[in-house]
Symmetry: D3
Subunit: 244 residues, 6 copies
């Protein structure tokens, strides 16, 4: 199949419409609804005043993430993981990725023996749920640390970098930015990229689902990801009322 | 403690503000966000073209429900059931109640060998999540059957009755309708009632958490429940654009 | 179907023959075999000198219940829950009910940092196993606390009320007391009621399995339950050698 | 410690008092309460009209066993396996032993594509629960096959041999028959033996818990077992109303 | 820390010594011991004559992988996953990676309704177990398909490409090829790369464990990976007695 | 079938070729590959500086064993226990046997509050994996304790006896020593015997899989086992460089 245009009509380097709503639910220290087109994820950040046993007494904090999809967030209803009694490999892989990405964003030595729990729950899925989770969780975590700082529990938000994530892939032979579900299902190569506001990489996870890809293609995909992430970080900062 | 007024300032027989939003997410045949004050539950209804093994070949349909809470829907973050590897007894009790209540609303012999899955996921909790789930799931199920009828798969919506649910309880010695979290935590007696639009009972589940209660008190609680449910069913019908 | 008479020939307000055998097994602090007609449940009460973590150091006791059925206690052999690796929702619901009911009977602040474990194991089922469990567990718990008092570990049995439970339901259009399996399978409405010796309610759990029921019917069912529970509490006290 | 006499006062080659009660519960095709002194086990035999997948269509039957202990059948309450979510290694080892032993008693090719489920549930434990289970299950299985034959479903009871089991061990340096709990806890060597009415071995499982034992001791233990089992098989046959 | 030399004394672009032993165990259709320095993995390929349910009747094959580590393959003994009752997220992530990589190597439409199971079991770990697993599994899978072809069950080995994998990373500021455990523990960036013999990418998984990395560094790492994989594929082909 | 000769051509009292390779893997305190003909088991012994909770503070050590089979160690691939989420009853039975046997070999009071973990992992199975595990684990455990003694952590190896294990059975009516898979599958009686270098029994586990066996046969089997174990213990001591 040769490429004519994206199903959504977007330009190849165009993100979907992004909306970041803070204080989406009332109990969490940080609570964000992130919408990337039709993908909608609730990201909450909860602070707990203790660390896992392996860190006890080391004067250091911890940050961990969990991910879930509501059973009917997808086209066809999926089994509820709580009812099946275990999380799928895909779920575990995603929550490990979110955790690693956000641990790169904050200084774990600068918020005491506390745990920041990030919960990313997909209420509607249309592709890119793991990257939306990371981008949204960044804002939720920032809010939670701001709350902690406002209480005087820590001196400042222990920020190292902003991080955001986006998917890129090859759709009908053409590298495109921010795949939606239709593109994702039909794509040959799929890459999830996590970067900092300094333009450096935190994670690159590329998979050839159909054809193996060459170095030139990889470079083009990384260019698109760089572009998209720069825009996403602007949107995160704007949502937080910060100068870009 | 003697009763002065409800923490929310509501009258003893006053429901919280109820909002029912249909088509809340895009994939499910029926998708409702129900808000009862600060309690918010997404109720989706999904139709599957098969029945569980025990009903195969009997020409009859099935309706089943699952319930979950996002980990930070509550004041303090709860463990994620999918990560713990099992649903709590409370969760199972609630989803069994939702399933029984909705099976009373529809004629299982009138929609072929199909299963209607109801998923009730609490995104914010402030008391009364199980009753909100039932009230919202009624509307979602109605929408899903309407979609099935619109496709011509069934002749008509297999409706027996509308059902709705509400909690009543004794707060500071005073019977009140539709308890919020603050009232619920401090109440002596808590009763969940499910009724039809004909004013008949489907379920009554009353528990004395503090003082055992006498027959007169029970009668007063049932009066309040009857009142509240009549109002909720009006709201359900209005949301569906039906004459009350 | 219109009612002619109960399959067992009992009057509508007649309990099955009840037998309460104390010291049924030798190791437990309290051990009761309760027989309600052909329903037979072993109820043991075990005292452990510690409380669950959430109560540690609060100077308060705890009481918890577990319920099980032998695989062939029923008409058709059921899977063994230990072999399946989990308890069903029904089992969890029942053991939560037994626990709540018995926590209403005793003063948790009056027996130190101890846990009373109630185990209700059905060896033969013929309807009403959960209510028989509650009625039998009351006697077993009383015996266990008496043993503790006899050792001088506590000053007195921390009794608040006697509690007992019974089922009522509508069989062939007629409200009847204490349903056996045949009645239970064919009944429209089933209600389990737990009450104190003061005639107050601890739990009311009514379900319309067929037709929804109206207020008048509910009142009649509660009348029958009240009658039955008064008799059961007399039998409990007699078994314990107490004046009624 | 040198041996003076057994705690129970029994002779070294004396069994505890054995009682075998048939038709102990009413639903199972075979239901036996076996009491060996204070050890009490309910053994039920249930016939199911199908075989496990690996035997489907082979024209052969299957026999399988499960074993459990009520949580307070023992001195100290044990965790309920159904609540813990798995059976212990000990439980699995015992139920595998019971299954193998009883499969040796019956001809699996002579009762069609049926499964005989044996459930051995200990309601009171005082040592020797696994051997009591085998001895009791033999009678329950016999009754279940007799019922099947009475219905005309099979021509005859597919009996190969009677089997029974007993424990022997070295208590305070002295080989003794049929250990009770006190002897079992303090013994050096423990051996469970399963034999046929022809005096042949089905299983021998000996373990040196303290001192390793020599061949002479082993021979003495086997002599005692042989004696005990001959008596047990007489009791089984008597319970079934058969000539010894 | 500035880089002086690798702990092993290797050049920055030097692989560890690689040994590939075919027919390592006798039962499997393909069985390979791959040794990459001190990392040793047994890779077996087993052919089963059926496919998972989701592929039944589609005339297509399936290939799946599982991964495990012996508890004491590592410096400190790890819990046995079979005893803990579940595989860790890391294990699942790795076995998903192995499966995807090898599915890219073979044509799933060209070996009938069969499943190729790849089992990669680490008997000694010294870094790079997942990449060694992929490289070894390639040879084992090739052997298994060759056996199938030799039996005449398929016309030819359904090979699309050879695939091999290697890790690259930044050790003390210096990009290096094929990290051993000492380097891996101390490295800032870790990237696992899977490529074909055509020099195309199948998977790229890079993680900044310490400092985020820039594009230039990424390019250097990919250069090293390309180099290493070309050598590994030569070794695979040599082991199979094929011309490079 | 009457016996002509063993499939392997061995004499009835002849062991398979035994090879014991110490220091087979590099991380464990003791690591042994034991080969009994085509049966190959890696036995590692790991020392941990703590004991399980039930022994804390008693000044005593613990020794425990785990057993596993690689999925394709057998003729047909077995499910991976870690993926199924539980160990089979057979696995648990075997690891309990290994643990008991080795606890008889060492003085648990003479190595401080430490745990010796024995992991026996079968990489190729051809009958007799449990007995090979015990025989190999003896050597691995000895090495681990020697390492501990060499560090000065304990004064001497806390050896009580050498233990080794072998299977004996009746193949085509003939008692034979050390059954391989072909013999094991076709045998009537199978007995696993564990003995000390003093010629005493630790465990005897005999099962009649076909015909029940008489006392004479049992004696002949024990004679063979005694013979085989004496030889195995010589080989263990030789492997350790000790005088027999």
């Amino acid at each position: 199949m040769s490429f004519e245009k994206r199903p959504s009509g977007r330009a190849v380097d165009q993100l979907r419409e992004i909306r970041i709503t803070r204080q989406y639910t009332k109990h969490a220290e940080g609570s964000v609804l992130i919408e990337c087109g039709d993908t909608k994820v609730i990201c909450t950040a909860s602070i707990e005043d203790k660390v896992p046993p392996f860190l006890k007494g080391k004067g250091q904090g911890w940050l961990t993430a969990e991910y879930g999809m509501l059973p009917r967030s997808t086209h066809t209803r999926m089994d509820r993981e709580a009812a099946r009694g275990k999380q799928t490999g895909r779920t575990q892989e995603i929550q490990r990725l979110i955790g690693r990405s956000l641990r790169a964003a904050f200084d774990l030595n600068a918020f005491g023996e506390r745990t920041l729990h990030l919960d990313c729950d997909v209420i509607q899925a249309d592709g890119g749920t793991r990257t939306a989770s990371i981008t949204g969780a960044m804002v939720a975590a920032h809010d939670a640390f701001a709350a902690l700082a406002a209480q005087g529990a820590i001196g400042a938000i222990p920020l190292k970098h902003f991080v955001a994530a986006v998917s890129v892939g090859v759709y009908q032979g053409e590298p495109v930015l921010d795949l939606d579900y239709v593109e994702d299902s039909g794509c040959d190569t799929d890459m999830n990229v996590v970067m900092t506001d300094g333009g450096h990489f935190i994670e690159v996870q590329g998979t050839a689902e159909g054809e193996a890809f060459d170095r030139a293609r990889m470079n083009r995909l990384l260019d698109l990801a760089e572009l998209g992430i720069a825009r996403l970080i602007k949107l995160q900062k704007a949502a937080l009322g910060m100068a870009a």
